[in-house]
């Protein structure tokens, strides 16, 4: 009798697996199959829902499955270097250049931009409101030394936003290692959304991209204190992974996705997405704004062949 118990048990588990296996079987495609494009993307494109809109359109046009892993720029580049994704969408010019120099990144195209904001509590204990980026960082550093209510939360995850933050500290003449060790400086080691939640709980300051901010601001009491600084320009790029180094990548679809991203039609979507829901667009299109954001026209218009 009891020997049968185990058989029955295994039968039950098998049954459950079988019942749910259609879900699994449909998805257990090989990683780089021809009908799947896997993107390693920065979190803001996912958090704002822009990728949902774009992937739906691309899937309808090309009959393939678009999937993405939303991580920081640093990790997205690492996935690219390991050949685990077909294409990356990131925002860190310096890290991108290195990735391209190493031969992994091909055909960088610029598809959009936004601005960083320095957000913080309404009480603004470091009094940074109205300052420019460098002055604000300096004010936080000075006030942080004496005032315990002044706290700065950093992404601390090698993302594009974290990179920019480090650049801003360095630009202000600070040694980042010293800043990093300061008692008022907290490394969240998390994505933008989680970092904002933490900043809200601590009533602290943080650097945030305007698109993620747009998606979260209604749930937060924090306010933007410093914006419209040249050094806050944030440019988004897409590049495919070199098939010579990663033979399994879906190069055909990756090229198509790049051309899709710089097409006037998608540029128009990027420039309008968010207006309906939030009153203003999350991102600005790169097309036609090359001079303003300081990129070459070739980077926004030349099709990838």
């Amino acid at each position: 009798m009891t020997g049968r118990t185990l058989t029955v048990l295994i039968a039950i588990i098998l049954g459950v697996v079988l019942i749910s296996s259609p879900v699994l079987a449909a998805e257990a495609l090989p990683e780089h199959s021809a009908d799947r494009l896997l993107i390693g993307t920065t979190t803001s494109l996912d958090a704002t829902g822009l990728l949902d809109v774009l992937s739906e359109k691309f899937e309808a046009d090309n009959g393939i499955d678009v999937q993405w892993v939303a991580v920081g720029t640093g990790q997205a580049i690492e996935y690219g270097r390991n050949c685990d994704v077909d294409i990356i969408m990131v925002h860190d010019r310096v890290a991108e250049d290195k990735f391209i120099d190493e031969g992994y990144g091909l055909d960088r195209r610029i598809f959009g931009y936004n601005y960083f904001l320095l957000v913080g509590p309404g009480s603004d204990p470091a009094q940074i409101s109205g300052l420019n980026a460098t002055e604000a960082f300096s004010a936080i550093n000075t006030a942080g030394e004496t005032d315990e209510s002044v706290v700065f939360v950093s992404r601390g995850d090698n993302s594009g936003t974290h990179s920019r933050e480090k650049l801003l500290w360095k630009g202000g003449g600070y040694d980042y290692a010293v800043i990093n060790a300061s008692p008022w400086y907290r490394e969240a080691g998390a994505g933008m959304g989680q970092t904002l939640t933490m900043t809200e709980e601590l009533q602290a300051y943080t650097l945030c991209d305007s698109s993620t901010w747009g998606a979260y601001e209604s749930e937060l009491t924090l306010i933007p204190l410093v914006e419209n600084d040249d050094r806050f320009l944030n440019i988004y790029a897409v590049m495919r992974i070199n098939p010579d180094l990663c033979p399994d990548v879906n190069a055909e679809m990756a090229k198509k996705w790049e051309n899709f991203m710089i097409s006037p039609e998608v540029q128009d979507i990027i420039g309008t997405y968010g207006i309906e829901e939030k009153g203003k667009a999350y991102f600005s299109p790169a097309l036609g704004n090359e001079e303003l954001i300081g990129v070459l026209v070739e980077e926004t218009t030349t099709p990838v062949v």
């Binding site: 009798m1 118990t5 697996v17 949902d52 993405w68 390991n82 685990d84 399994d248």
Partner: protein
């Protein structure tokens, strides 16, 4: 407090209205968790029996190591499996990175020490009198094993339940190997993690309640089998 009450409300709303996305995520969670539990049990039974019934030098050490691995952190398993399954790793040719298969692989690695360790304990706790009786009746190897499994069935069932529970509740491996891809590798725990990071605490809590309800149902089912 508000989030708590709304969370419970949302949970029942999602269950009662059979929200398609929640159904999808739940089905995937079940498929992946049941697969990894099944594989780990299939491996743990013979492995556990071999270790429990055989005497060999270093047996105690092996058992200690297996029991130490109960504490294997899920993110460490995630990291190790990432290094093995990545295109640049030794099993990269399988193409399992960011797929449900990869997640099953990771969870199996994670819970195998637990199921194997508990199977060893279960088989070893069969009273020596019974072991002697079975031997004296001249049982074949297979009969010997079968009768021991039968004797230890409650404890073995516990191994299955503990393994399943650890697999369904872990998030480290699922997020590192699966990547939390919407509609493909998103499971309950990674969805909870995502919704929390997006500040949707009520929805997170609702998904957590759904996870517990599933665990309850599975436990009841297994209990039913056990008592027959």
């Amino acid at each position: 407090m508000n989030d708590l009450i709304t969370g419970i409300g949302i949970a029942f709303g999602l269950i009662l209205t059979a929200d398609p996305e929640v159904i999808d995520i739940t089905a995937r969670t079940l498929a992946i968790t049941c697969s990894s539990t099944l594989i780990s049990v299939v491996v743990a039974l013979p492995l556990g029996a071999a270790i429990a019934f055989r005497d060999f030098p270093g047996k105690r050490t092996v058992i200690s190591i297996i029991q130490t691995l109960y504490a294997l952190p899920t993110v460490v398993v995630g990291l190790l499996c990432f290094m093995v399954l990545s295109r640049s790793g030794p099993l990269g040719y399988l193409g399992w990175m960011f797929t449900p298969n990869g997640m099953i692989f990771g969870q199996t690695v994670l819970i195998l020490p637990i199921t194997a360790g508990l199977v060893i304990t279960a088989l070893q706790s069969v009273s020596p009198g019974i072991t002697d009786t079975i031997r004296s009746l001249g049982a074949s190897r297979l009969q010997f094993l079968r009768s021991h499994v039968r004797e230890a069935r409650f404890a073995i069932m516990a191994a299955v339940i503990v393994g399943f529970s650890r697999a369904i509740s872990e998030v480290g491996t699922a997020i590192m190997i699966g990547g939390n891809i919407k509609g493909h590798t998103r499971v309950l725990t990674t969805a909870i993690s995502l919704q929390t990071s997006m500040g949707n605490f009520s929805l997170s809590l609702a998904l957590g309640i759904i996870l517990l309800v599933i665990a309850l149902v599975i436990n009841l089912l297994l209990g039913l089998v056990q008592n027959r």
